[in-house]
Symmetry: D2
Subunit: 428 residues, 4 copies
């Protein structure tokens, strides 16, 4: 099982050109139904409603993370770095490949609505008697536990954890490149070859040779740009809000005993709050979309309207505000209620924020969230100590309030809304 394949297999990939598979274990993992399921989960959730090209799946991304990890390790081995542990190669590759296995359909929204966590599901799928578990056990009895502990950041060898989760991990590198490629937004184009060349294992973690500082600056800037151009795009947020509202409403109705025109397993158990791994694996975006299409004809008007909005892309509009206090919010909700609008569903407030890079704060010690530079004298320094650029962007908190609302409903309620509200929503 730990043997290499007799002949290397490749997947053609638009981002990395080829994904190289050299181990029987990896090949078999890819062919499990648990891993194939990731083809039915989009990498960027509803972002395709904003950037039509972004229809790629977590399957593609997972292969990409695996491939970058493979290249990093292969670079470590070729350079003969002594701080790398060659025995951990297969473990690292498996963890890289499988780290997103537990993602559900439109996970950001579903996790929020149902208070779940995809990492937990990843570990359960690895550990609880699936096709994945079986293959990993053939390597070693406790190999599934090892893989899971790497993904949960608890594995004994930090260097392995560091490769899979850190501010410079293969996950982030692949998604920046891949999301840039599929959206067509070229800000995410990082010099991956250069970055790979400057990484080094050093005392249990991956550090960066000082000569590579500019490549890292560029990487952090790309990350920042992708957040604001793509990940936090207000149209995408709008579609996520509607999605969350659908889930919320359906759960409320289910709990109230509403009789759904369309309902199918494993959704009932899911609403009940108790699905097992086998049921979880049946959840995918095809199911969600097909269900929403059916629910667009439900008798509950709120649910059918929300589903119809999502399926036909009639999203909420938004206004942007620099500041917003509780009082104003309350006032809006009151006015909405008075005008016959739903104070909860017809107004959502969003405040996206991202810290491009967390700086080292003296006294805190080095921790996993930092990028360390290694100079020729083998001194380690946190990157923001050396780079003006990183220092200057670290800690930038950007973000504005966005108020989302259904424009058509608001327009219908117009005569009943006070002028202050009309002004706020720029409706005349």
């Amino acid at each position: 099982m730990q043997q290499p394949l007799t002949e290397e297999k490749v997947f053609k990939d638009p981002v990395h050109n080829y994904i190289h598979v050299q181990d029987t274990v990896i090949w078999r993992l890819i062919n499990t139904k648990e891993f194939q399921r990731l083809r039915r989960i989009r990498q960027l959730g509803t972002t395709y409603l904003t950037f039509h090209g972004a229809e790629h799946s977590r399957f593609s991304h997972s292969l990409g993370v695996y491939e970058i990890t493979r290249r990093i390790i292969s670079q470590f081995e070729r350079s003969g770095y002594k701080d790398w542990i060659p025995e951990e190669r297969l473990l690292t590759l498996c963890a890289a490949l499988l780290h997103d296995l537990g993602h559900g359909p439109f996970s950001h929204s579903i996790e929020e609505a149902f208070q779940m966590n995809h990492e937990d599901w990843t570990c359960r799928i690895i550990l609880e008697d699936t096709g994945i578990t079986e293959i990993l056990q053939e390597v070693e009895e406790d190999f599934p536990q090892k893989v899971a502990s790497v993904i949960c950041k608890k594995y004994e060898h930090d260097i392995v954890v560091n490769l899979v989760s850190s501010p410079l991990d293969a996950d982030r590198m692949d998604y920046l490149l891949r999301d840039a490629y599929y959206t067509g937004v070229n800000y995410g184009t990082i010099d991956i070859d250069r970055i790979l060349r400057v990484l080094r294992p050093y005392h249990g973690r991956v550090v960066v040779k000082e000569s590579g500082m500019h490549a890292i600056e560029d990487y952090l800037m790309s990350r920042y740009q992708m957040y604001w151009q793509v990940y936090f795009h207000p149209v995408t947020r709008s579609s996520e809000i509607i999605l969350r509202q659908v889930f919320r409403r359906a759960k409320q109705l289910f709990q109230k005993g509403y009789s759904f025109r369309f309902m199918v397993e494993p959704l009932t158990d899911f609403f009940r709050g108790g699905i097992n791994v086998q049921q979880y694996l049946q959840l995918d975006e095809a199911l969600v979309q097909a269900t929403f299409m059916q629910w667009a004809s439900e008798s509950d008007e709120l649910l059918s309207d929300l589903c119809s909005r999502f399926i036909h892309r009639k999203l909420y509009k938004y206004v942007e505000m620099e500041s917003l206090d509780m009082e104003t919010i309350d006032e809006i909700r009151r006015s909405f209620a008075a005008a016959g609008l739903h104070p909860e569903y017809d107004l959502e407030i969003d405040f996206p924020t991202d810290l491009p890079y967390d700086v080292f704060r003296p006294g805190e010690g080095f921790h996993g969230k930092q990028i360390l530079l290694l100079d020729r004298q083998e001194r380690l320094r946190e990157i923001s100590e050396v780079s003006d650029i990183v220092r200057s962007i670290s800690g930038i908190h950007r973000g504005r309030y966005h108020l989302y609302y259904p424009q058509d409903k608001l327009e219908r309620a117009l005569p009943m809304l006070p002028d202050s509200i009309k002004e706020l929503f720029e409706i005349r």
Copy 2:
């Protein structure tokens, strides 16, 4: 309605960088639910099971075809070519945008199984009282009819038809570029800017200035390569075969009165053979995938096995043969039946073929399937008369027989199969 937008709108597109929308009509058509439905139909059907990157939708492609058409027309107008009819701009753009509107989920397979035709559905959606019809009628009462007639190649002005359907149309140019981009196969990369520069309207059709001959040679070679590398890829064909078998089996069961564990509208009417436009618009790939996932637990073994294969990507294997006669096929089917295999479902024969370019045959006159070069003396010549390359690839019939079969079943039936069959399928 025929007015331009007050401000041009753009879609970010990874292939064309930006898609420019300048007309209110186009903007409104894109926002109909009929057009948004194309987001739920993949451009390349099951190809994503072979090239994992190819998850793009017909929505993206339709925008691309529109954009290329817009650029061609804008080039015509800038050059002041007198054989172009400026009044036909909007009609041409609408036809380009909508030409794929009637595609169903996994259309190649579904059309074969149900003997339908997506072009008919395109015209019905345009003509039968949908949101699309309404918008087009606002332009002119009979504008829906005009758009449909362009798509059906019956419109009075040939130049319009020619832009939308011809061997050098915007459809082909976009799909070559787009499919190459998403699969990562770089053979499809054509020099679109160059091609656009050398197109000219001339006596009711689009011809090519002679100086552009090499760009066209390159385009025809790219087309040829994409056919053999991507569109006819045996793994994709394998998944299409399974898909067709699912549809075929489900239809048989439905007609026999089998009681499905899972069945939902509009599938029942679809199997009955009589759905209307509104029902057709509910068909999408989410529905098909969600249904297959449910059917993977049907009691009919054949159906559940086929669905499970499709969802979990356990495809049929294949052997390739240079030639194959009816006698051999009969022999295989007989042996299969004798060994307990299904003579119909456990063996499918495929013979993909493509003519890279149909040559002009003297005496036939010029027709729509030809590419004509216009030289400085304003003489028209069919490209294969001038280009050695095109002449030499024209009429190349390539193709081999592929026999597809479920390997696991064959292996189980092995003891009962004659040696000749074992040899044929390279099983020992």
Copy 3:
């Protein structure tokens, strides 16, 4: 003369795909020997000795600047912006095309050594009876003066000057893209289509629509990265230093009456300090390189050594220092002299610095060095007021001292150098 060409001409360009020439004047200007001379002047001087791909000429760059300007204007015209002056189109294009006409061979170094200025030469070539002058005069008697005044930033219409010289001008956009392309360094890849879309003429200058802020942030970061990765690369600086030393030495020798083994017109007049336009136009990099090759056999050892170093790329090494005071410099020079090294030629000190973007300082008013954003309420704001990123990088002064020296000579002088010096130069 002001007529458009009967048929648009194109140049194939790897950066912009095609350069479109639509005016007879532009076509004729490109074909003058004055403009063709730019083929023999490299865009990045000696940078090809660091990045071997960077062998592109000012000819290519000048075409690129012209093309970007053409696209901006064409965008202005299509959008019907009323603050653009359509009559200035040809003038702007001519100024864009010709703005680098006066660059001499390896201009950075030659200008420093001979205290000249390429802008002066550009204007002289435009004004003093060359083929260029003649073509421009055919447009209008004082057209040469107008073109020159745009280049010298004195033309009456600010918007024209602004297009040709400003922090967002076509010059900078082309060189970032082009230098990135030819060096292979991908940090310079900016989204030019996006930037062009967000530019607007407004009250006599080019401003940026607020929605384009991120594209400008990205552009400023790219600029910053290109400065530190490419333009200030220490190996390039080393070659420039040698070049300057050659010119300096040759001038000294010439003034002392040294009899050169090889000397050719117009170099003698050049050393004498009085060449005219016709002579200046004979200066190119072929002449410089051929001369250096000959001078590598001069009897003056310093000159022949320097020339040989340049031609055969035996550059100076360098050490980097965070700080450096006059005292230390004096000490090094004294020690060098004492050890038989040349205190002037064997040690050069360099301190490259760049301000990525100059912020607006309140009270200074808007001036040409700023980038202004125009929001929907038609308010103008300087970009660093709005963008955290720009604010944080503005005013970053980076830079370290670099000491350049001939390693072989230093090693030979080693026994005579004090330990402090050895340590400084990391020689043991």
Copy 4:
């Protein structure tokens, strides 16, 4: 000397991203003045006068050929192919790096005018006591001889020769990619990663795994397109003709004892026909261009006119003819002479031709000019036996006669030319 470098060195390259140097010998060879000289010889001669981007040097190309060879060998070693001889690695890399060392300035034209051969010069530079010879001798006393014999295709191990010169060698792959990149013509973009993956050493030569056939088809088509789009471009041919005429005229004048206004070593010995290696190494394109600039003021009108044409890009025009017989040529020359034109210099006839791929002809045996496919049964077949495309393009002889002439002179001589000639040259 045969040791690896302590740390791998890289060159940033726009085509291959990075060129990796791992051996001390390679590093030292690159830094010789003989190799650095290639920076002053353009890869595509005068092509930059047609495609302004094509200003790249043989230095870049030589590094590229080295890098592709390194990747092929590294792929051979990783796959453990037993038909590869690991001991020949360094020899192969040296031969790949140095194979173009003997190219002179504008070599196609200079070689034709002086009946020299760059391969001979390559071998002389390797063998006759240069910096190159010295470094190679440190590997092994007869290593220079070995390297030279590989380049001359006489080395005992065919596989080494085959890697450096064959229809699929690293030389061709690099120049297709590089020339496409610098000209901006995208027809040359081949899938190098794919090609490298399908190469295999087999019985003393490099063959192609059958699964790679389409990649090779694409490669041969790209080669064909680049020949007709770039290498045979009539404007480039025009500049080459002028260049050849300059050399021819200068040689005639020199032999007649003409006293040149400008003449410099080693040109005199070169015209005399007897330069040695050291003198040859001083020939570069800077010298040629600087000389032509000076000769543009020579008293010999023919010479000064030709030089001026070359420097200022006032090239010959051409007419294209499908066929041309000796009689017509004689007639033109006679008419030219009668009209005061130079029958030899004012008319040049060119007939470019290329065979995209030489087919195997049965009975000839396999030889170096063929591409062989290896199928799963380890059968070797010449590619045109298997590929319809290759068969159909093999043996295509394309080519038309081009008559080049100085248009201005012809126009002046117009009254004295017979109508038949005027018609031929399309002058009215």
